[in-house]
């Protein structure tokens, strides 16, 4: 599958890789350069492979209240929330953001590319309330303009004032590229916006943002940027076998809600206590931790790395790992990197600040 920006990536000389069936750019100039451009200035990502599922009608709120872990009814127009679709066992089917376009009648869910079909089917099969559910992923493109200079680029391009938006809110803006949904969200910690628009307009917007100084960035930098902030990636750090509580994402679960799918399992987990927690690791020795590396503490296995890389900002190895709940922050353990033990310290992410000065 290809996004509407595929031809642009090829023109820019991107290295293209297969990402869950999508032909996506992994880098253009190089991951490190792109990563640092986002932290210190601005970068632009094609996230059009992600899914947009619309839930509409007067049944939308009661349905979403039961389907999602967040409290939907109090959401004002223009609000964004991060939350989950859980299975009955509390496992994470997907993590997503929900956009309140019109309270009580129109919501958009932005979901992970590789889960779009699964999520859509799951939503449909659990739709007791009879809300209208529509997958508009094909006609919707997503361009993420990230970094401290993102706001000034948007102002110059459209006279749009991103600074007036609070984090996790959005606004519509009518432009020469049609109606943009500009959201003050992102997956990099560097600030900026995510822009949803009609697929047909995506190449022109993409090119203009680059002309205005945003550096084209691939999935490689997207991964190192999110990992430096400790943001989980579904499929790596969270999946149907892990719960939001184990992943330390309690803030995105409104336990006070009367009912949502998976709530009972989470309550049970709270009662019985967690056996493992997703935690951050910073290597104290040279080396690069990778997914699957075993963590050893006091001579025995204490966990496993779910995401690892080198931090382009720190120049050291960083990772997320599920560790036994007895492991505490600032504990030191060994990460087995190709059968070599490397010392690492348990640290709460983010591992770096989201922006760095030029």
């Amino acid at each position: 599958m290809r996004t509407p920006l595929f031809e642009e990536h090829v023109k820019l000389g991107a290295r293209i890789v297969d990402f869950h069936g999508w032909e996506m750019p992994v880098w253009y100039a190089g991951i490190k350069e792109e990563h640092l451009a986002v932290r210190s200035a601005a970068g632009v990502f094609d996230a059009s492979h992600m899914g947009e599922i619309y839930v509409t009608g007067k049944e939308s709120v009661p349905f979403l209240e039961r389907a999602l872990t967040r409290d939907i009814s109090p959401m004002p127009k223009g609000r964004v929330l991060y939350g989950f679709l859980l299975n009955k066992g509390g496992g994470i089917i997907d993590d997503l953001t929900v956009y309140c376009i019109e309270p009580d009648s129109e919501y958009m869910l932005c979901v992970n590319a590789s889960n779009t079909e699964k999520d859509f089917e799951w939503l449909c099969s659990n739709n007791r309330e009879g809300a209208r559910i529509e997958n508009r992923s094909d006609e919707t493109a997503l361009v993420a303009l990230q970094g401290p200079d993102g706001a000034s680029i948007l102002k110059d391009a459209f006279g749009f004032d991103l600074d007036r938006l609070k984090r996790y809110t959005f606004a519509f803006e009518d432009t020469r590229y049609g109606r943009l949904l500009i959201s003050k969200t992102g997956y990099t910690g560097a600030g900026g916006a995510e822009i949803f628009l009609e697929s047909a307009h995506a190449p022109a917007l993409w090119s203009e943002l680059i002309e205005r100084g945003a550096v084209p960035c691939g999935l490689g930098a997207r991964d190192t940027l999110r990992l430096e902030m400790g943001y989980p990636l579904h499929g790596n750090d969270i999946d149907e076998s892990t719960t939001p509580l184990e992943a330390g994402l309690d803030f995105a679960v409104d336990m006070a809600k009367p009912e949502f799918i998976g709530k009972e399992a989470l309550q049970e987990q709270l009662r019985s206590g967690l056996t493992r927690r997703l935690r951050g690791l910073v290597l104290k020795e040279r080396g690069v931790p990778r997914q699957g590396c075993i963590c050893v503490k006091d001579g025995r296995e204490a966990g496993v790395v779910t995401s690892g890389s080198i931090s382009p900002v720190l120049g050291t190895g960083i990772a997320l790992a599920y560790l036994e709940s007895s492991v505490q922050e600032n504990d030191v353990l060994d990460v087995m990197v190709r059968s070599k033990p490397l010392k690492a310290i348990v640290k709460r992410p983010p591992f770096v600040s989201g922006t760095i000065s030029k």
Binding site: V26, W27, G220, V288, S309, R338
Partner: protein, 129 residues
């Protein structure tokens, strides 16, 4: 894509430069380009004996880990320590500053079994198909 004439090449994309019974070894321009930003180079220590095809170290980019193999039998006589702090030299200058080890060859005639630049170029073209 640079493929210097005077070097010898392997199918795993190492290059070797023969110098008086010694073979200076690195990875090719093609290999560094395929790997992307190299962030870590881990080489076996001086004095390690290796057979042709044995690993002599690993190179890691942000996204991938790749072994580097000995093009010939020999002993590691020198290691490029500067790659410890500057692994990006492999990207920037794969045939000069980005060299990895110097092998003392057990049998210097083994280099004749490696590909020359023309054969390597054809090999890359065939692989691309």
């Amino acid at each position: 894509m640079k493929i210097p004439d005077e070097l010898h090449y392997t199918e795993d994309h190492e290059w070797g430069k023969a110098e008086d019974g010694m073979l200076r070894v690195g990875i090719t321009d093609y290999a560094q380009n395929e790997l992307g930003d190299i962030v870590f180079v881990d080489l076996f220590p001086k004095g390690t004996s290796v057979a042709k095809g044995d690993p002599i170290g690993t190179v890691e980019s942000v996204k991938a880990v790749s072994d580097v193999f000995a093009p010939v039998d020999g002993e590691i006589a020198e290691v490029n320590d500067s790659l410890e702090d500057k692994p990006e030299l492999v990207n920037q200058d794969p045939y000069e500053k980005g060299w990895m080890v110097v092998l003392k060859m057990d049998d210097p005639s083994q280099v004749n079994k490696l590909m020359d630049s023309q054969a390597y170029e054809e090999y890359l073209e065939a692989e691309a198909k």
